[in-house]
Amino acid sequence: MRWLLLKDLQIMRRSPLLTALLIVYPIVIAVLIGFALSRGPDKPRVAFLNEVPADTPLNVGGEEFDLAGARSELCERIECVPVSSEEEARQKVESGDVLGALILPADLVDKLQTLAGLNPESPTVKVLVNEEDPIKAGLVDDRISALLATANLRISQEVSDVSTTYLQILLNGGDFSFLGDEGLKVLGLRESESILRDVRGELPADSPDLERLDSVIRFSHLAAENLSVAGELLSSVSQPILVDKEVVSGDTPSLDTFAIAVAATITLMFVTVLLVAGSLALEREENAFARLTRGLVSKTALLGEKILLGVVVALAVTLLMLAGLGLFVELDWGRFGLWIPAILAGGAGFAAFGAAIGGAAREVRAASLLAFMVSLPVAFLSLIPSGTVAPGLYDVISVVTAAFPFDPALRALTGALDAGGPSIGIAIVHLAILVVAYGALARVAVRRFV
């Protein structure tokens, strides 16, 4: 028993690459998950610009609205990044430093004041967003709607409270102060009705005014009845503040297309990387590598053949998959001509990556395991939108994901599937660079094959 245990530990020590992966992998995954849970969507970074003059009192219907309090409450729910101008906000959004920007225009308070008056104007806040990818676009929308819903709820509460007071006076009578005037005595509809009834009782039964008086009584009764439910109606006014949303960069493809691109890229990745890594390692396992590379084919040509194999299979599988998906979701078949170069470039990127893995691992099983273990977290990292994590960390993530084919392949496919997607040309150039780099790595790795 213990000898077997010792034997296994010794074997693990002799396979440093796999053992290191076995140790590093769970840590990486744990960190990623922890990260997703803690730093995830609950505190998005939003640039905040308040153009409202600092000491503007906000008075809604005689009640002081606590602007500073509202602000600090807001900044508890999001990470407010103070900016001093709309220009700066725009820049931060464009660079992906923040998820979006919230701008309170100078006239916001003035317009808010009018809500409680007789001539209401819609106050508008400006929102800048960077919708470079659909996951983020969705996230931004959710955040901002949630924030505004809360703000609107509070404001409409205030407004309807004030309106309800007016209504009560109209219904039941009372003192009404208007523009600093003396208290104005208001009779109220209910009181008017009872006065009218009293008057009616004093009229002779055959008076010609009786009928006209009756109609006035009916009206004030009806008005009182109906206005008493108006209070409830008022409180349901929910959107006093309007949002003027502006997309700063990135024309977003639909979430559907994006989901298809992600699915296709993940399929492309696994099929190609596993196939190429495995079949290259198999050449060595079968001892055929030495036989082939002495005279029959050059090592570079053999690697080229593996990459070509990967590309051909990748193309077939991905097209098949898209055709299958096309049965359920609408695909823009008019862009078919762009699908092909995107899949070919993505396939080549993954194939070269697979060749490097197969060369490094040298055994089929180790190669498959390595391929899985490296591909998954990279794919996961590539799907993290900017602005959802600290900017320094996001820069690190960008550098890491740029070194692997998943991110450019996803961009190429998204761009190919949807006109609103990212530039397919840049993605293909990026993939071409990765093909050369991983091809060179694979070429170095197979030197150790014999």
């Binding site: 079968e286 001892n287 055929a288 030495a290 036989r291 082939l292 590379t293 002495r294 005279g295 029959l296 084919v297 014999v450």
Partner: protein, 245 residues
């Protein structure tokens, strides 16, 4: 003592000088040189780990020597590795066909048929190579190495795992090639085989060339301890023992 190697013949098909190969700090081959002419059959013998496979892999161009030179004036080199190098998931015929195509032989199908006949595996032609017995896999391994009809043929322990009948066929075929001018260099642990089929032996131990010459000279270099003429195998063992191997 180390026999001085004979001067390379003018028509040397292969000429190796001072071949050295190191793996880390282990010297697998230490300045081994020899020459062989067209039609020569040279046996490389030596204990396990002597450096036979290393020498053949340098000659085959699979590995680069750390020092020394190999001259191959003409033609290409065929190689039969010690461990079968074939695709276990391909059938016998598919393996032969693949390598025949890669070798660019003139008539692929005829060559495949000839090799199936040669190996006696015609009835297993559609079986996956991995399902064959070890000896039968070795037969295919050899057949693949013979496909190209090279000027120099290198065989690393080719008869290991073969039954006597197959061994007979193998040597018949190899000697036939030598008779037509192919230089054959093979390693073996079967001393009798070396004595019987090789015109010359190259003895290496611990990476060093100890003897290079005709079999008869080797007998002289390792004189029988006893009175009666010792057989080649015990002469070989004694030869090594005397030199501390």
């Amino acid at each position: 003592m180390t026999a001085s190697p004979p001067a390379p013949p003018a028509d040397a098909a292969i000429d190796a000088v001072g071949l050295t190969k190191r793996f880390g700090d282990r010297t697998a081959l230490d300045g081994v040189g020899f020459a062989a002419a067209a039609g020569d059959v040279l046996a490389v013998i030596g204990p396990n780990g002597a450096g036979k496979t290393t020498l053949l892999s340098l000659l085959a161009g699979i590995r680069e020597p750390d020092a020394g030179e190999i001259h191959l004036p003409r033609g290409e080199v065929g190689f039969v590795p010690q461990q079968a190098a074939l695709y276990r998931r391909l059938t016998v015929a598919e393996n032969l066909r693949l390598f025949a195509r890669l070798e660019e032989v003139a008539d692929v199908e005829a060559t495949v048929e000839r090799m199936l006949e040669q190996t006696g595996l015609g009835d297993r032609r559609d079986d996956q190579a991995g399902t064959l017995s070890g000896g039968n896999q070795q037969r295919i391994n050899i057949a693949i190495g013979l496909l190209s009809d090279p000027a120099v043929l290198l065989l690393d322990e080719p008869s290991t795992g073969l039954d006597p009948r197959q061994r007979g066929r193998l040597w018949e075929f190899v000697l036939g090639l030598a008779g037509r001018g192919t230089t054959v260099i093979f390693s073996t642990h079967n001393i009798a085989e070396a004595e019987r089929y090789a015109g010359r032996v190259l003895v290496i131990a611990d990476g060093q060339g100890l003897f290079d010459g005709p079999i008869a000279e080797f007998h002289a270099a390792a004189p029988a301890a006893g009175t009666e003429a010792a057989d080649f195998e015990s002469a070989f063992v004694r030869f090594l023992a005397e030199r501390g191997h």
